[in-house]
Every structure is written in C-alpha cells, then in structure tokens.
Amino acid sequence: MSMTLASPVLDSKTPDGPVADKWDNFKANEKLVNPANKRKFKIIVVGTGLAGASAAATLAELGYQVDAFTFHDSPRRAHSIAAQGGINAAKNYRGDGDSVNRLFYDTIKGGDFRSRESNVHRLAQVSVNIIDQMVAQGVPFAREYGGMLDNRSFGGAQVSRTFYARGQTGQQLLLGAYQQLARQIGLGNVRLFNRTELVDVVTIDGRCAGIVTRDLMNGEVTSHAAHAVVLATGGYGNAFFLSTNAMACNVTAAWRAHRRGAFFANPCYTQIHPTCIPQSDDFQSKLTLMSESLRNDGRVWVPKMAGDTRAPADIPEDERDYYLERLYPSFGNLAPRDISSRAAKRAVDNGQGVGPKQNGVYLDFADAIGRLGADVVRERYGNLFDMYERITGENPYEVPMRIYPASHYTMGGLWVDYELMTTIPGLYAAGEANFSDHGANRLGASALMQGLSDGYFVLPYTISNYLAQWLNKSIPDTSHPEFAKIEAEARDRYHRLASSDGTRGPDWFHRELGKIIWDYCGMERTEAGLDKALSEIPALYEEFRRDLKVTGGEFGLNQTLEKAARTEDFFELGMTMCRDALERRESCGGHFRAEYQTEEGEALRDDENFAHVSAWEYTGDATQPTLHIEPLVYEEVSFQTRSYK
C-alpha cells in the first residue's frame, strides 16, 4: 500500500504581514462588489445553524440574493441550539488580563498546535464583535445587578471570558441569528427551502456552479444554480452512531462536496467529551451531555476492585479510587476533556466500570452536599440533576451520577483557505463543517464563537473577493447539461437505495459501523486497530450494499430512505477517518495513538514530521484517498508541550 503525496502543497492564501495585521491587510486589499451590483449575485447557503443563519442573514442585508436550505422544518431546529455552556470573547470586561492575543494563544495551545495561526488570530479579533452583535439583537445574556454582562470561566483558560444565557447559550444565539434571518425572509431577500436536503454539488469549468437537492416531503430532486455556495452543514460526530449530536446530524453535504473535489482535512480529529450519561441498553439512540461544570463540585471515582457490584454507598472510602485526583493532583477532577476521557476509558477497560452494564464511572456529589448543603448544590446544578433523573430514573442527590465519555464535536472538516473557500472555487465551508480553527482539540465555549465568526464577520468579507470577477459575466444556469447529469445520478442513487430489499434497516448498519469506528478510531487508536477497522468497514459496507432493506418507496416522506443515504456517506467517511488516524503517527489533542505517548501516558506530539494539516482528496476508494499537505507555520507562537499535572 503506497501513499501518494501530491504536490504542490496547499496554498492557504494567508495574507502578508505580522499575524495581528493579516486580517486588516486582507480587508484593505480585497476586491469588493459595489452595493448596486450585489443584487446581481446569487448565493446559496446550505444549513441554518449559527454559521449558516448568520451568513445568510448578513449576505442578504448586504444586498445579495440568497437561497437558504435546511433539512429541518424550520431554521431554528439546527443543532447549534443544543450548546449549553457559553461563548468566548476577548472582551476583558473583568479586567483580568484577557486580550485578543490571550484568546488567540489559548486557542492555539488548546488545539495542541495543530491549527492555522492566521485563522485563529482572526477568530480572536472578531470574537468581540459577536457579543456586540448578539446583544443588539436581543440575546438575553446573563447580567449582573448593575445591568452589565456577566461572565464565567471555562476549561483551558485562566480568565473569565465566557458569556452565557443560563444553560441554553446555543439556543439563545441560534434564535438570535434565526430571527435576523427570518426578518430577511419576511423582506423577501432570502428564499428559504425547508425540509430540503443537499444531495450533490455541481461543478462546471472548475468552479462550483450550484447544488442538487431533494425535497424530503415528496422526494423530488431539483437543481439550483448560484455564483457561490456556502456549506454550513455541521460536523460528523454521528459517524460513531452514538454521540451527543442530534439524530439528524450527518456528513452528507460535506461528503458529497468531497466526492466532487473538495479536500477533507484532518478527519481523525474528533472530540470525546468526558461527562455524558452512559449507554443504558443496546437500543439507545443517542448520548446526553452533562455540562462539564459539574466537575467543579463532583468527585470522579471507581471501585478499586474490578467487577465490584456493590451499591456505591456500600463501598468504603479506602476501597475507592479517585483516579483523577490521584493521577493529576494539580488539576484533579478538572483535568481537560481529552485527558479525563482517556482515564475513564482505562478504568472501565480494567473492569472497574460501574452501573448495570459496568460502563461508567461515578461522579459523586456527596462531599459537595455535605460541605455546601443540598440547597446550594441544587441552586448550582438543579436543572442538570433534574435532567439526569429524567433520563436515568436515579436521584443524584442520593446516588452518585454515572458518566462516561462520548463523541461530541469534530474538529476536522472540509479544508478551507484563509477566505473559507474549499479546494473547489466558489464553494465555501463555515462553522463545524470546516476544519480551520480548532486544531486537534477544541476548547469549551469556542464552537459558538467560530460559527458566528465565520457567518457574520468572515464570509461576508471574503466572498466578494471571489465574486468580483464574475460581475456582468454569464454563469451556467440549471439548463446546463451538467446539472441534468448530476440530477440523474442523484435520482438513480435514491432509486437504488429505495429498492434495497435485503433484511436489515439502515439503523442496524449505522450502529454496527459506529461500533467499529468507536472501538478503533475513538478515544485511543493503534496501528493494529486501525488496520483492522480499514478491513472491517469495507466488509460491512459490502454487506450494507447487499443486505440493506428500505421500505416506504422512493417518493413521499421516507425517513428510512434519508437515513440509508446518510449512512452510506458515513461509511466512506469512516474509512477516510481511519486512514487519516493511521497515517498521523503521533498523538495530539483528541487524536491519541497508543504507540506515541510519554512515560506518564500523555500525548506525544511529533512536530518535526506532523506539524501539518492532512487534506485528503477523494479517489473513488475512500480507504485510499490521496494526501495533500498544508504545513503549519508558526510565526507568532512557538511549540510547547501541554501539561496539566
């Protein structure tokens, strides 16, 4: 098996100048489209989460014609809504030493020195504008009694820079962006296509010419032409089947673009969140996140003895292993996400797991309740305790919570340059769908920041730099034969899937696929395991092609058919993920290769050989994509080892 390294290396189109001046330099030199000419351009935005809704609304305000697509019934359902904790911004309202440079550095370090410096600096710069914009739109952020904005602190930072709206920050930000989009829809500046899913991307003469979509209510496949297309279609965490993502989250839009020539970067960078409610039965559909903030007062432990099935209260203190406090004395129960997750996995793998399926660890509040009283604990975490009890039927005031890590966010995604353009000219990727800002690990409260940064303050500037060249030139419309060809391919695909007459539904295959990816490309990866995954996934894929059963027909609302198509794309993504994880022979952030660790079991980076972005080109065989490299050049910061001892 040979790896092909294509040359030349990828050009990130990073502007000239010192890191702090790059964004200003870009804005000073980019091509603009004058206000009267903007209405001559049509832009398609796929996805209406934070990145998509904010981009569509802003582009429409600027005067472009915008078509927005969502597969949900309403733009407000996008999964951005589920984010709990908050959004970071370098406002320094606390006067505690925060600055744009501090947020920039924290994000680079949090990402384990695997992100693009210029993008991260821009993110930190525009973070302050996001808070201003959202407040102007009426997002009810938490306030102090004097009426000023409140902040909380979050992991990976020594300052308080996180803005929040109770435990529903994502919901309030999304509703803010959705309302701004709704205003543009009401004004007729945006046409909304709801319950419509992207099924392919059309390229003509080397540029993205539009998309092909399927109407989920009647199965009709249609074409849409535009000057530029933005994919803001989220991450691929549901590749694991069980994750904290919403049920409908999928990789289809990004993967279809990848199949048409967009490179896919760092697919092996996935984030596993340590505090989720463990799986309770084999039919479980998703995992629920319990906010990281619980670790401020909860103590994590497992029985010292493997296979101990006694009730937690019957296990005496000296037979308990408070392993985070033991292994990471200075950070204790607040050790970072990747480190806490791996420690929990080791305990469960040792047979020390707790609960009916022995698949969890305890998060115990007994000490906190003893010290602070149940009322204070209720005030701090009441809503989370209630949610836990609703799901598990156990009262965490009396019995310790059971938690276990779960897939939560994906740092990898479509490769984009500084202007957020993919390797297909005219096709952009924003938000979780791109790879650009979080490196190998994302910090808490930074996903919301990046989605809104891309949609509000980056794309609206960078897109004109591309569009300007097309002024008063004709572009192909949907009567072009390429649209007809790709439409026909999409119809054939859905026809083939709808006529699958094997014995098992798509969920069965998705679950089995997820188990393979979780076992071999989850929290800990090894060469042997990844090799195994790269033979097991194609074998299961063959079975999927042969034995899938889809009922309900090709036309009309058919959720089974939708799942079948999305599962098919997860199969190919899974193969490329494992290939990427295999070829990245180092450990960094969320990518932990057991062969590359320090004596203490921590991630061991190899900056000499792997300080680069791995961008994969589709070749027709997802297990053998072609690797392209973007070297990561650090001008402002220098490599350091992350330590949390």
Binding site: S54, R76, N129, Q171, M247, S280, T288
Partner: protein, 242 residues
C-alpha cells in the same frame, strides 16, 4: 434497576401525506425495557417494521435533549405525554404502565417570527455590548420567555387551536429588553395580526401552560395583550402625526 414492559400496544395515527385519509394503526411491541426513551421505543418499532417489510412510522425528532423543539407527539391525548415540563424526546418508558404521531407543518410559526419577531440590527453596526445595560430582573424575565422551543405543544393542547403562548413568549422576550423598545408596538401589532391569520382565538383555558415543556407562563399572554392594546392607540397617534 430496569424492568420491562410487556405487550406494549400502540395505536398510532398515520396518513399518507397531508391530504391522505388518516387511520389508527395498531402495533404491538412484545417487550421493552423501561430504560428506553419514548422515541427509542419508536426506533425499535421502526426497525421491527422495516425488517418485516412494512413502512416505518414517520415522526419528527432531532436533538433528543429537549431543546430543539422538533418532536411533536400527542401521547395519550397529551402534547408531549404525561410528564410535566418534559418534551417527548426526554420522556422515558418508565412513566408508562402508548399516542398519535405525525409530522406537523409548523411553518406558520416561522411566518409569525418573520412578521416582527426580531430586533432590526444589521450585522456590523452594533455598539459595545455593555453600552446597553439590562437590569438583571429584566434579563431574567426576558430569558424566561425566550426559552420557548417552538414545538407547538401549546397549540396542540388548546381547545381553540390558539398560538397565543408561542407568540406572546417571543413578543415578551423582545419587548421587555431595552434593545426591543424601538420596534415594540409595531412588533406586537404585526405579530398578533399574523398569528390571527393562522390560528384560533385565546379564551384563557390555560391548557397551553400545562402542556409547555419549558413551563412558559400564561402571564406572557397578558403582557402581549397589554402591549397590543397600547399599540392600537400609539400607532394611530403616530399615524395621525404624519
């Protein structure tokens, strides 16, 4: 610890498309653990149906964390089922000792928001966030209203099919905040009038509040009515000046 429910009988309302004739189909699940959520129970039923060559039951759902508002089931005659302040997706089988399901067209909610459920603030021109102080009690009250997930349970529970709780929650959220004052009266008029095009009238049954998974208070309806009444006077005055 978990127990199982045997011979769970489901009577599910199904129809082929918005104009198709509807019917109740009966399905039996032999055994199900009470650890399963209500929607996982439907997943299991669907896998069973697909393997038998039958069409799966279509239902709306997404986040399964009670926040996105996509799920919309009437279970035993109650929107979101029997547990208070709980959306369908967080309801578990242990709360049962069976419902009609269907995908609902809730786009009228989007039309209401489009008519005024926003604060006009184009991207880019916002002043520093702390230049607009918001007293904590005001921010808290606005947040109480803003929690609405737009699921539509309030309309489903209302004998009149009124959307007053949904509409008033958005109006209250924005009209309480200082940023929302400029468009306050125009907003309430436009939104109430759009609401009236699609939905029935409120006669203060309070079923909406009881069904709401986010415990939105019907006080919001009083706030909306009060602003609507004022708007009728204010806007006439404004018009008379022109």
């Amino acid at each position: 610890m978990s127990t199982t429910l045997k011979n769970l009988t489901l009577k599910i309302w199904r129809q082929d498309g918005p104009n198709g004739a509807g019917r109740f189909d009966t399905h039996v699940i032999d055994e199900i653990t009470d650890e399963a959520s209500f929607l996982e129970m439907l997943d299991i039923l669907n896998e069973q149906l697909i393997e038998n060559g039958d069409e799966a039951v279509v239902f709306d759902h997404d986040c399964r964390e009670g926040i996105c508002g996509t799920c919309s089931l009437m279970i035993n005659g109650q929107a979101h089922g029997p547990e208070r302040a709980t959306a369908t997706c967080q309801l578990h089988m242990r709360k049962f000792s069976s419902g009609d399901t269907i995908v609902i067209d809730r786009s009228a909610f989007d039309r209401i928001i489009e008519s005024g459920g926003f604060i006009t603030a184009a991207t880019g021109g916002a002043p520093d966030a702390n230049l607009i102080p918001v007293p904590k009690p005001v921010a808290d009250a606005a947040m109480d209203a803003a929690q609405c997930i737009g699921c539509g349970a309030c309309v489903a529970a209302c004998p009149n099919g009124a959307a007053n709780l949904f509409t008033s929650a958005k109006i209250s959220h924005l009209n309480l905040l200082p940023q929302g004052q400029a468009e306050r009266y125009q907003r309430v008029e436009n939104m109430v009038e759009t609401m009236d095009e699609y939905f029935g009238s409120c006669t203060n049954h309070g079923e909406c509040e009881a069904a709401c998974p986010k415990e939105i208070s019907i006080d919001m309806i009083a706030l909306m009515n009060s602003d609507y009444r004022k708007a009728k006077v204010k806007n006439r005055k404004a018009l008379s000046r022109t």
